[in-house]
Subunit: 335 residues, 2 copies
DNA sequence: TTGTAAGCGTTATCAT
DNA sequence: ATGATAACGCTTACAA
């Protein structure tokens, strides 16, 4: 089954040349006579020769690969961001390793192992602690952080959360709400934490406490139920998924959205446009987050010291906050 | 910035032993005296030594990595499947490369390059032609196919489409529909092709022609508009995204779903439960597809000749076909 | 128990 | 224009 692979010596033998010549022909560099090239190419073809990645990596002293460590691939957010990274990497001729931590312990070992196979590493979100990040840095290859704040000198790319959170909270206030509640766990990620901070900042001493919930529809439903029990009339949720849970909690209580209870989300997943009423939320530039992080990593590898980047996020007003629904045309223009 | 990395010689020097001993200690195999081990471990720690992946791969004659080639990461389907692959790979101690083709040409080169870095490769969907697959096989490392039919002797894992397509079509027929239309492009993937075949088979000479559309909401809307113009009263869509497009086409025509027009999807994305009316669709075991393919690949690498696998898909009846909506409790039991 | 030395498959520097 | 040959960093007989 596993065909024995032809190596550069086999090709050289077959073509009656040295391995150096084969290497030159293979990579299309250096001086080779047309006739020799012809012979070598034929041998390569006949033997179906492909250079070994590890041999090449060893000789080049570079793996030609990068890695990304992410918490989970569930939901549209992570996959979109990773897709951005992937496209940028491939465009730069690099292969991309992915490693999901899935809340696993011992993932530091896995990250370390991954690190030994790449020329650069992206660490996304709350996968490993700042401590581990510090330990990793300087260890082997350059790091870039994604969707988390910089750690010491290690730059990161993330989307802004504070300003949109304030804006959204003030928007709910402007709708006349007095009892607002925050659904989400500030401890779960730096993004969630910043959204909570914006909420609290806009509300001052009226902020109360967050109704803690991990990301996820079921958790959102539970937390929202608790919030509703306190008499809240507006729910600012840290993710669209949580908001969907809140929708269900509201329905279970026979509350109308937005008349009885206003709900907002975060991320602008496809679903946000389709639920009824359409969800007011915040759009993050997911793809761009990935692209920008890949570029940041390249710069670091090249020896530059790029600054941390914060990309803009935009509040998308739809109907769940109490505003008039957007027309289809207005929706289109958002795409 | 890029710290020079300590290699096995540096550690050996520091500990005053040979590189063989360092290697033994590092991997925890072979006889080493407690005292020596101690010294070596200290040196490893002080120098922050991690074995080079490429050096190791070269000496071991195995990369310790696998790869997956996928068409795109958009939508929940691909990311879920890839997540299944990733988890299984990591559980088996393998790293995972991802390569998206995004409809690129010249991706055969990229695949070839990837192949030279891995011990096994998963090829998903319509990324590369059967021809290229054949050329790849036997070239270097074992292959496993995912979401496409086996090619020659190369086994694959996929979800059944024919039976559910027939079942769904008959269900629409049972609702009294006489003019059914298929939305989707049978040429876009083997899955779509099989769904069309099931549709056509159940309908016999009443099947007509498919209203071709790539996967995607916008395409679905266009194709559905054309289908509606022919007087169709039931639309079987090859994906949930297409079905969402069909929803919009129906709304634009002021048609009620399901009273005036029945619509079904495929995939059971999260959205399917939230649109109104809830979407009747077909659920594929996405995660399991990934897991099963990873296992298949491992078996092949181990020298076995595993058979192709077809996993079951289930029709999920909701409201868009004309049935009574499921209660929340019934929904839960589906999860 | 430890060390020596021969690969593993490339690239790159010299000679020729 | 081509060919020896020495890295690259590791694993693994085989010797001591």
């Amino acid at each position: 089954m596993t065909t024995v692979r032809a190596n550069i010596y086999a090709v050289a033998d077959r073509a009656g040349v040295s391995i150096a010549t084969v290497s030159r022909v293979q990579r299309g560099i250096g001086p080779v006579s047309a006739e020799t090239r012809e012979r070598v190419l034929r041998a390569i073809e006949e033997l179906r020769y492909t250079p070994s990645g590890s041999g090449r990596a060893l000789a080049n002293q570079r793996a030609g690969a990068m890695g990304i460590v992410f918490p989970d691939l569930s939901g549209p957010y992570y996959s979109e961001v990773i897709l951005g990274v992937e496209e940028e990497m491939v465009a730069a001729g690099q292969s991309l390793f992915i490693l999901g931590t899935h809340g696993r312990d011992r993932c530091a070992e896995l990250v370390l192992d991954l690190m030994s196979r790449v020329d650069g590493l992206i660490i996304m979100g709350r996968t490993v602690s700042d401590e581990v990040v510090r330990a990793l840095e300087g260890g082997r290859v350059p790091l870039a952080l994604l969707a988390r704040p910089p750690v010491d000198g290690i730059p990161s790319v993330r989307a802004e959360s504070l300003r949109p959170a304030i804006e959204l909270t003030e928007h709910l206030l402007a709708h006349g709400h007095e009892r607002l509640a925050f659904i989400g766990d500030p401890a779960s990620s730096s993004d969630a934490e910043e959204r909570w901070r914006g909420f609290a900042q806009a509300l001052g001493d009226r902020a109360g406490e967050p109704f803690s919930a991990a990301f996820g529809e079921a958790e959102g439903r539970l937390a929202a139920t608790r919030a509703l029990a306190t008499g809240a009339t507006a729910l600012l949720c840290a993710s669209d998924e949580l908001a969907l849970g809140a929708y269900r909690a509201a329905r279970a209580r026979r509350l109308r959205i937005p008349e009885d209870i206003a709900i907002t989300g975060w991320d602008d997943i496809q679903l946000a446009r389709f639920v009824s009423p359409a969800l007011t939320t915040v759009r993050q530039p997911m793809r761009e987050l990935g692209v920008a992080t890949a570029r940041l990593l390249f710069e670091r590898i090249a020896g530059a010291e790029p600054a941390a980047t914060v990309l803009a996020s935009d509040v998308v007003i739809r109907a769940s906050c109490g505003c008039e629904p957007l027309s289809d045309e207005e929706e289109e223009s958002h795409q």
